[in-house]
Symmetry: C2
Subunit: 251 residues, 2 copies
């Protein structure tokens, strides 16, 4: 669907419509607490293993790399033809949800589907440029500051860096621009854990957010995060803190 046709408001007759939620692991992802009580029927189509099954009909395939992969199988059942537009949308879903075919959810089936979608007209180059070659200049500057301040600890097994509130203002970066920076720290040779401390540039939030990533299976960073009142997964977790950057780093 072209983005120009995207609506961000519910239609007036929403109470007479079917709501189809794609890639929403739970109700809050729909972005409106009340709409589920207003629509007569909700279809929940997703691949997240912890989906709460909030729909009247739930199609949840945890083995699928992405909701795009689930949709391909559904389209086959329904006899929907793969047009170039549909193929490109599904291809985008696969590329982004597998991190360019490198996360552990990438299976032989994912690659077979990618081949099929290219043949059906998905423009691989356009997806790549749209998703990965449209980096805001201020994001590069923010990345530069975080990498410049990175330090190794414990003989290289831990890599830590930080971003100050003033950094966001000085380079003109919004808060989400710091996303993905921690992956550069995690990719350092020999690093088992990466830590990025940042001061969110918004009012009313915590003073500091601490993100944790593990590169080895033996390490469970969610345990570390929980001790500080946070949470997350074994490989990716985080917590909020009022401690100073020096105190957090020493800990």
């Amino acid at each position: 669907m072209p983005l120009a046709e995207l609506r961000r408001r519910w239609p007036d007759d929403v109470s007479e419509r079917v709501l189809v939620a794609f890639d929403c692991a739970n109700e809050s992802r729909i972005g409106d607490d009340e709409v589920l009580g207003r629509v007569p029927l909700t279809l929940d189509i997703d691949h997240h293993h912890d989906n709460t099954r909030f729909g009247d009909v739930n199609l949840i395939v945890p083995d699928a790399s992405s909701t795009g992969e689930v949709l391909r199988d559904l389209f086959r059942e329904l006899g929907v033809e793969l047009t170039p537009d549909i193929s490109e949308a599904l291809y985008t879903a696969i590329v982004t949800d597998t991190g360019r075919f490198q996360y552990t959810n990438t299976t032989p089936k994912t690659f077979l589907l990618a081949a099929e979608l290219l043949r059906a007209g998905a423009d691989r180059q356009r997806v790549f440029q749209g998703v990965y070659e449209s980096v805001q200049f201020a994001k590069l500057k923010l990345l530069a500051r975080a990498l410049d301040r990175a330090q190794v600890y414990e003989g290289g097994r831990i890599v830590i860096s930080y971003l100050l509130r003033t950094d966001f203002a000085e380079v003109g970066a919004a808060e989400p621009y710091s996303e993905g920076i921690i992956d550069y720290l995690r990719a350092v040779e020999g690093a088992e854990m990466a830590v990025l401390i940042r001061e969110p540039p918004r009012e009313g939030g915590p003073t500091r957010r601490v993100s944790l990533r593990a590169s080895v299976d033996e390490l469970d960073v969610s345990a570390i995060a929980r001790k500080s009142g946070g949470g997350g997964h074994r490989q990716a977790a985080g917590f909020s803190s009022e401690a100073s950057i020096e105190e957090i780093t020493e800990f």
Copy 2:
């Protein structure tokens, strides 16, 4: 082949052996000017379109994403079974030569082969970690300096940065660590051309090396490079210069 078994010297009886050159676009890539005169038979297996056909037998497939893809077809003809070790080596060749399935050489056939190699035992996660998650810490520091100095010109259509000889020494980086940095400049939203000027940290080389990358088909950076005595492809080219960084940037 395990790296431990890799030999870096020609065997004593090289004059009685067959030389098989993989992924070498020309003789100089073999790293020894004289060996071709000493071996009785040379097989040249490659996918570079500008391969000089230096072998007695040449198998050059320009449409293939990588020499790994050429080898898969050859193995099928020869009845060689895809063991997990062979599959992982071929998978590594494909992943690296397609830049994680995103360069224009990625075709449906590439994806079908990737699916086949995973099924035959290639460890996708190990390849990913070995290739992309083993970044030297000094490389991050070098990247930080280049990104911190990046500037936009021509309303954002050109992104330029530079690395000084002292940068390499101060962060402890070898010359090849600057590889790939220009891709960060090229990925900036709206950038049509990226320029990285660097002072190579070796004796006897040029004072400055200028690398050029184009993000749009209309731009041919090899034409710019040729005007300064350099060369390359439409999308990637470079030249040497004795001019100052300011002079190069103004030009």
